[in-house]
Subunit: 274 residues, 2 copies
Amino acid sequence: MRTVSIGDFARMTHLSVKTLRHYHDVGLLVPAEIDAATGYRYYARAQVAVAQVIRRFRDIDMPLDEVRALLAAPTPDARNSIIRAHVGRLRSKLDETQASLGALHTILDPPTSSLEIEHRRVEETWALAIAETVSLPGFSTWWLAAFTEIRAALGSLGVKATGPEGGLFETELFSEERGEVVLFVPVRGRVGGVGRTTSRVIPATELAIVRHHGNHSDIDRAYGALGTHVAEHEIGVEGPIREHYLCSRLATTDESRWLTEIGWPIFQSGAARV
Amino acid sequence: MRTVSIGDFARMTHLSVKTLRHYHDVGLLVPAEIDAATGYRYYARAQVAVAQVIRRFRDIDMPLDEVRALLAAPTPDARNSIIRAHVGRLRSKLDETQASLGALHTILDPPTSSLEIEHRRVEETWALAIAETVSLPGFSTWWLAAFTEIRAALGSLGVKATGPEGGLFETELFSEERGEVVLFVPVRGRVGGVGRTTSRVIPATELAIVRHHGNHSDIDRAYGALGTHVAEHEIGVEGPIREHYLCSRLATTDESRWLTEIGWPIFQSGAARV
DNA sequence: TTGCTCCTCACGTCACGTGAGGTGGC
DNA sequence: TTGCTCCTCACGTCACGTGAGGTGGC
């Protein structure tokens, strides 16, 4: 009359029988009475309230040890400080998750912009390159000198380019106006370096690419558009930004014909096969 | 040159070495190369992007099996539907947690109302009682008849009351205007029942209590105030609402002297000892 | 030789759930 | 006797972390 079986108690508290046995094992909720002969657990009706409190805090993932401390708290202040500590942790976890979800959210919606984005996987390639840490001021002068040197080196080595000139830009270059840049010309295999040039492998990557026409005075607009697109609609990954110089001042002085590809590293479905 | 050790890869991806070995074991992220002699794992730089995607989705608790499916998704649509399913589940979990937190939040802040709330633990007691499922309309008539009958039964049994009259009200009585009510007078132990009366144990409970003075025409205001208080500042538990009739029409016709306690079941710190 | 990185078991953690094999009361 | 509830192990789950004991290259 005064106590109920574990099955009835489970129904009263919406806890499973297995869970109740577990709480007994760890001493969190010990049955009011245990039949010495059969081992049957019997719970007092007053324990329903305790069980409900346990359930409430387990619902918000409070660890059993903390729930135990909560139940034993001698004063409302002690009780509240336990709750407060857990709620604080939970809230910051929630905020992180919310932020991550927010970042994902727009990925799922198809892009609405009229920006022409191409997705491309570029394979790794050997290249003759110049790698230096540079600052944004004076960059175009450095850029021209470097490619002039690479072209000269190729000539003196008797090696042919197997693709357009390109560059790898550490993201710090944009965030802190200073970072490592690798300018390169793809070649068939390893070749000896001349002067500042060295032979190196340019790694494979998946890119979201936009094209920029004309001179580079307003290329930051293309960068902005691409960055926004990737942040909102792609799964971006760390790694250097790339540029491919399909047509540049190295080829013609007619600025209107210049054509630059900007590539942002992203993750594409099916890219798991390495 | 083209591959990195597990330690370097861990630093590049912010995943632990143990985690990377685990991902290898379960086939989620297999090193590009494994030294047959030493067993050393070597990762390709291109795998950094894959590792970052894994980390991003693990950060929002996507199970490894789903991450695996995500990486293998043949199309963006397939990829997005996996993400969408997980995000949906996550969001509803978030909402639940938010709701639970909201309910807890006000518990932590001290009550600002001027309502006089007493917290009291009442012990279990035997009682002579009438228990019936009743509707709110006509309740006061039923109430008076029931207590008149209990008092008569006590007289005929030659038993003395050991406390004030009381009542237990199933919460459905308030939410659906119909529910079980137990009206009782505490007595020393089990006594035989007469007429509708039966002997029963009134369970122990923890209560938040307000007092209501005068006749019951405006007792719903006291109920409202108490209910609000409990919802905002206490850890409420399921169980019947109680009333104790310290002074009622059973004792005097002077309504101004009537005094009713209303008790709401709550959880109090230190109540774990049963 | 020392220190550092890497390796492989085997077991621990957390909060239960699953399942086998068996008992007891109506 | 059947069905139902209860019991106790022992092991599984999930995503790793811990720790012991050992190897290999500079």
